[in-house]
Symmetry: C2
Subunit: 289 residues, 2 copies
């Protein structure tokens, strides 16, 4: 007897949604991948690229027979999508997302989804500063950590099945508490973005920017790379993770103050402080795989 | 009649000194390039790599017949080198450096070098977060801006000759006032370094670092790339450019405050602020060549 092909629906066909589709197709040629995008042209493009093989303009229709649903929109759009798809989800279906903050999403899922649906919040730790289906790629998740936060109603089996699927996409699943997740990513992802963006705006609003920009080199380019990220996406992230971000902004500002004081005083310990940071970063790079 | 080969001395054989040597050799096979390093093993390595073809352990001896001298040490070592080489420099010789701050260096050169020697401060806007002769490369300066700050006693001809040499290395010379230079690079280079280093130390000193570091991805890597830079080099930079850096730390901190307030208030204008930064950065990238 032939096995029924797995049915996966991806709502939101940007960098992440598109890359999930491409990676899925590569891992399982028989998978039926339904894509759903607000824009018809995006769905057409995703189909052409092979990221999806069916498309539907309505989220509710797109999820009707799905085994897995991935919601890959900016954080705050997840709420509306959950509302829209709730009545159409199959019993036993696994619903996940790819948003960068998890606590709010878990609350929405809890209040909006019916019993019998397994909600497991997700967050693949991969990205680019460019966005859209045009930059999606099958290898985006290779070796990356993929955070999974199972909702209270998710069965153990559903977590195992989603973990296996995430592994098929090339990632390493990591089960994590949503609040803990949000605190950790505020430090390693949201703060770096805000810092990047503040550096660009401090420089670009200065009268000397034209001259400065001629001297700016690869160091400035890399330190500000995140600032080119999708502003709507990051607004959603910041506004759904205010407490954790505020805490990291404070920690960062204390470190900036510490360096600032040492520089003002001409303190030679500055060298040790810089070298501690370099050492910590280099150890991190070494331990990454 | 055969033209006398040009004689160039490079003091300090790290990333910059080594790359100057390699680029010079590529541009002019007949050039006599004398290298001088505190460490014998570094000079041997530079010779093996072809960055220099003569070596001398003493700066004074190394510059004796030089047409051009490049001092490529951390900023504060430049002073001692100038003192050491002053009595041995040929009349008409061109002396330059590659340090990241210029105002202090210009003062030292003015007070330490004899009349008849042309001092022109220099700063190639190129770098890597790794240092040492091992990462030097002939193409490092390709397309980069190379700041030149002629001292009061430098002849117009010497500036033209050094500009031509810098072009041979692949760079675009830019004549600039030392104080202006220091202000501009504080914004696009020194502040980004301090910010990177503060981000690493804020994250790495937190109890959650082990967990965080597992989630940290390419965004964190790029935002902190500069923090892996040579801590002695950056200490010298910070301590010879305190006023300009303090001013940029203030501007940056005001921008961080602005973002922080918008996030705390849940202000939807955040999206516009982020998008302004993204736009400024993208225009800068587009205008770069």
């Amino acid at each position: 007897m032939k096995k029924r092909p797995v049915r996966i629906t991806i709502i939101g066909l940007g960098l992440i949604g598109g890359s999930i589709g491409l990676a899925l197709r590569k891992a399982d040629r028989s998978a039926v991948i339904t894509g759903c995008s607000r824009r018809r042209s995006t769905a057409r493009r995703a189909m052409k690229l092979g990221a999806i093989n069916r498309s539907s303009a309505s989220p509710a229709a797109a999820v009707r027979d799905a085994d897995y649903v991935f919601i890959c929109t900016p954080v705050r759009a997840v709420k509306d999508i959950l509302k829209a798809i709730a009545p159409s989800l199959r019993r036993g279906c696994i619903v996940s997302d790819a948003a960068s903050t998890k606590a709010e999403v878990m609350k929405w899922a809890k209040s909006l989804l019916p019993a019998g649906v397994n909600f497991i919040g997700g967050h693949p730790m991969a990205g680019k500063e460019t966005s859209g289906i045009g930059v999606a790629e099958a290898g985006l998740f290779k070796g990356c950590t993929w955070c999974l936060a199972p909702g209270a109603g998710a069965s153990r089996g559903s977590l195992q099945r989603l973990s296996a699927l995430v592994r098929k996409l090339g990632a390493r699943p990591l089960v994590i508490d949503p609040d803990r997740h949000d605190f950790l990513v505020a430090g390693i992802s949201h703060l770096p973005f805000i810092m990047s963006s503040a550096l660009v705006s401090a420089a670009a609003k200065d009268g000397a920017w034209t001259e400065m920009s001629r001297l700016a080199s690869s160091g400035f380019r890399d330190a500000t790379r995140l600032a080119s990220g999708d502003s709507r996406l990051y607004t959603d992230i910041c506004l759904t993770n205010r407490k954790a971000i505020a805490s990291w902004l404070d920690r960062f500002s204390a470190e900036m103050e510490r360096f600032s004081r040492m520089i003002a005083k001409g303190d030679e310990n500055l060298s040790g402080a810089f070298s501690d940071s370099a050492g910590a970063r280099n150890r991190w790079l070494k331990n990454r795989r």
